[in-house]
Symmetry: D2
Subunit: 355 residues, 4 copies
Amino acid sequence: MAGSAFGGVFRITTFGESHGVAVGVVAEGCPPLLPLAAEDIQRDLDRRRPGSSRQVTQRRESDKAEILSGVLEGKTTGAPVAILIRNADARPKDYEALRETFRPGHADITYFRKYGIRDWRGGGRASARETAARVAAGAIARAFLSTLGVCVRGCLEAMGDLEVPFRSWEDAAQNDFFAANRGAVVKKLSQKIESLRREGNSCGARVFAVAENVPAGWGEPVFDKLDADIAKAMMSINAVKGVEIGAGFAAVKMSGSENNDEITPDGFATNNAGGILGGISSGQNVTVRVAVKPASSIRIPQKSVTASGEETVVETKGRHDPCVGIRAVPVAEAMLALVLADHALRQRAQCGKFS
Amino acid sequence: MAGSAFGGVFRITTFGESHGVAVGVVAEGCPPLLPLAAEDIQRDLDRRRPGSSRQVTQRRESDKAEILSGVLEGKTTGAPVAILIRNADARPKDYEALRETFRPGHADITYFRKYGIRDWRGGGRASARETAARVAAGAIARAFLSTLGVCVRGCLEAMGDLEVPFRSWEDAAQNDFFAANRGAVVKKLSQKIESLRREGNSCGARVFAVAENVPAGWGEPVFDKLDADIAKAMMSINAVKGVEIGAGFAAVKMSGSENNDEITPDGFATNNAGGILGGISSGQNVTVRVAVKPASSIRIPQKSVTASGEETVVETKGRHDPCVGIRAVPVAEAMLALVLADHALRQRAQCGKFS
Amino acid sequence: MAGSAFGGVFRITTFGESHGVAVGVVAEGCPPLLPLAAEDIQRDLDRRRPGSSRQVTQRRESDKAEILSGVLEGKTTGAPVAILIRNADARPKDYEALRETFRPGHADITYFRKYGIRDWRGGGRASARETAARVAAGAIARAFLSTLGVCVRGCLEAMGDLEVPFRSWEDAAQNDFFAANRGAVVKKLSQKIESLRREGNSCGARVFAVAENVPAGWGEPVFDKLDADIAKAMMSINAVKGVEIGAGFAAVKMSGSENNDEITPDGFATNNAGGILGGISSGQNVTVRVAVKPASSIRIPQKSVTASGEETVVETKGRHDPCVGIRAVPVAEAMLALVLADHALRQRAQCGKFS
Amino acid sequence: MAGSAFGGVFRITTFGESHGVAVGVVAEGCPPLLPLAAEDIQRDLDRRRPGSSRQVTQRRESDKAEILSGVLEGKTTGAPVAILIRNADARPKDYEALRETFRPGHADITYFRKYGIRDWRGGGRASARETAARVAAGAIARAFLSTLGVCVRGCLEAMGDLEVPFRSWEDAAQNDFFAANRGAVVKKLSQKIESLRREGNSCGARVFAVAENVPAGWGEPVFDKLDADIAKAMMSINAVKGVEIGAGFAAVKMSGSENNDEITPDGFATNNAGGILGGISSGQNVTVRVAVKPASSIRIPQKSVTASGEETVVETKGRHDPCVGIRAVPVAEAMLALVLADHALRQRAQCGKFS
């Protein structure tokens, strides 16, 4: 069972390599009669796009989404919606040097060990470019969720050791870092990126995502719990190494009397649960935090081996992000939207209504 | 799509409620001709069993596993292996008071909102008792993995703010806390549990699990990455709120040059990746950390509401764990084993061999 | 991917061998709050039961269904419903002679070739006893479908070359053959069975099943079409070798103008389509015909080989049906009900309502 | 759960409408390092192509396959293989008249009832054009199967009441009817098609498909039996109304002693089982027969209703096949290949080898 599909009722299958012909996605199970236009998808793709700002990789991709199927006269028909994004700025030649060499921290070595062959052109399927297909599919999920009043948002909460205090969602929309704070921190983020670019190094990040207005009742115990599927969704994003729901690891040091969210007739008093109890949404905001490791492709020389097992030293050339965690924000939003859209339909399947 | 199944090729389906007739599991896809006896399953169940020590819930369950199918003359036949564990010490009456009341921090309220009905007898399906079925299935997975030389182990790394420095796996086998340290920390753990029991409170925990000797090549990008499926597996365990692979959240503050594990002809120099690159095992140890929240059932009174929405105050009676994180150790091991067994077979399906 | 599960949203997983401890089923995804009692399941099991008449195998099984989970105070809770049927009259010794020999026409040889091991005790998992679990699960599906007004029925349409003209469903309920005709044909059926029993031979059968009152809209093109899933469901029953929907093979010789069912404001004029167009129910009766081959276990000596490949002659002893097609009637009904229940929920998932 | 995916380990997802932008497929789980070129796919597509002969629809489609992903330097990489076939000769205008009218015998009415919207442009997703994607995917499956020595072939066995006696596979490759007989019957087939075209009518067909050299052991009891999955695969093809394995419906009238295939040290004496016992391949040829109903789109006027429920009369214009059963031959081959490729890998997953 190959792993390029995600979801149960609302289910996506992605394909495509970084420097191949195209990336794309087929989304099955979308409810019919949902208004959907290429622009809805383009809007989200543009937020994720490389080259959209100085902060991320300098690859220039138009990331133009073409809807191939499943939409008639502006509405979904219930048939699979296929979206194609051609690779315009593919430059496989740039990667010739990596044909026989494994970058430390990169999937080069494991793809080769697994399949006995590796698409060496820019990381192939392991490239962050693959996330464009996720974002395109996520845009469909969002369009559906918005009909239920559910809103998914994300922001950069930390870049390396630089914390970004939350100020407002409006702020997050006004800078290239998805920093929910339009204050001085934006300048510091810019400086940090510049500094990393000069050094040829990279840094990690912590991303926060939230879904607001999720009705109580979504999530399928005992394995397809809402938080379990969110954890999988997030951990499946390139470079993610940790996921927290609600209080997350902070709950380790809390007592039950502190951690339990008391309930009143007006709702929960706190939200340490991150909106999920027993794997089912409680009606509170669903909150997630994600740890993104520093990009592995750096210009600083590091020890490695060749495909034939000999010692070598790798300095990655090419156009790379000093902090992949920035672009992980729209990707995390997309994955959260995909999980929720799927669970909305699964709840309707068994229990007859969304809430 | 209800969520009581887990895995693709090696797939389990669990059933049963805490104070109903029984809990159990059907495991499909196990390779034939694997030696398997009820004792293999019993051994793991006994480690998880309530009443096995003073540290955990005082419910007395024999947790006797009966193999119903799929085994002939001590060997698996390739047919589904069903395991039944009857509830011997069920006392639904103890929970009558909770029939119309939702415990704060518990799944009582969300099950009711989701299904419109709730098995109020000791948490029903949301009870930690459900994990007995996981452990039983995990024992089959372990039996299979051991034929490949893969070993899965776990320990309690922290209980509340009390850290347990790792000393040895032998130590972990010699105390009821799964503490990999036979030193003074065991006494402190005991004292902490006693103190919580007196207060009627509970505390969180951090669990560490590792799989040794995993070959390179397991994991199915881009969604069923090995780490993604581990994250789901762990987050699906009762009370888990966070999952880390390798360096986890610490990677946020690292630079690429620090975080990248350099490669030498003798292997990787470090293991910040936790044995997984691009969602595929690298041949290093697969390392996971899990945050377990404090048990929600406490004797300290907390505000809540009744099923009809009226204010109330809840003090949970009954026999509960002050720290569910302790018993989460064998459960985390079982879930890790289940993910690995499944991915071993998936790797063999597509690529023809385990490594 | 082992194959003991069936269905998408309403999904069952069966286990158990003919002469092992038990057979059983876990049914996931059943809507909550559905009234369900052990008697509902027992009623259907009793129709299928061996020993219930002289017409079928003389094995005496009480086939007592025990509900292990998922039901509280007479209603489903949304959690998996597990049902256990212990094997009371298992006599593995009767099959010792078949330990090293493959019966012609039986799955003995293929199970052995596939798994390298074979549960020789009465056919193990390949025994018709396995269908008890299907019937038990089908009873849950029926209980759900009846809330939608959908009714599933079946009858024996032919036994060998003896055709049974349809007279009424009431008739079908009044004889052990499920013959929808209480006339002289019942006597002929009895005589044929007696004659086969004397000869030690067996015969084939054709079974008809129909679902009435199915709303338009069920079925998921282009692969999980309603007829495609019905075909799979039927062909998965022991000994089934052919499936027809509506006019079936007769459509080969029809012209389009004959075969097309004209549509009027009052509905379709004919039903050559068998209630399914483009894989989606049309609102007409869903009609299915199934070819059941003669049972392979016969007393007449036939050439075969041993496990080590040597020539031998097999005469099956034991208690066998001269016509397994009789008992296939309730099994075909159960499978049809399972497909419909699943597709009802899948339709609700994507499109929001059952019709 | 929408139904546009098929298979477990070797899994395809199709998309696209008849007169939309394109049709296509994503094939997951293909073993890596398999030689695969666009020409391999084109060869099969050309056999199915409309306009390739006078016998089938006069729509002119180049059916040019573009491989979008999963292949590097002529070899599969293990990543999803996506194939795109743009619709060159789409003429939605031709179908304006059908916007508000349902053709008798066609899926127009059921798609509308299911989704509340219908892609009226040439049948949309319900068009036989969808099968191009199946054939493209089938070509990958065939390429894989050929590495195992497995060969899949098909022929037209009957067109209406005109039977085509089998002569040789070479014959089947030398005429546009896939008739395995180069004799006078080909002329009769031509005359029949011409006659139907003149009348504006259509006829049914029976297709035969066989897989040679299938090892023993493929198929996953008890639901994903090889024959069950073949039945589903075949019944999911447009216009198919019946499926038989081996002796099929003829087995109804056989006795056990006739039907059982005796076994000798050199193999089975006969093949009434169609190469499958207990849902597992026996090592004999796997044989399948499929009933294809006459195409519903005919020029002869028939009664129908409009979307608003009013009486109308329909005479289909446009370019249609008098006998869709002809083109069903390569489609049936493709579906059989897809089932076998999937089960080959599933067998390897659980049991470690293909045979």
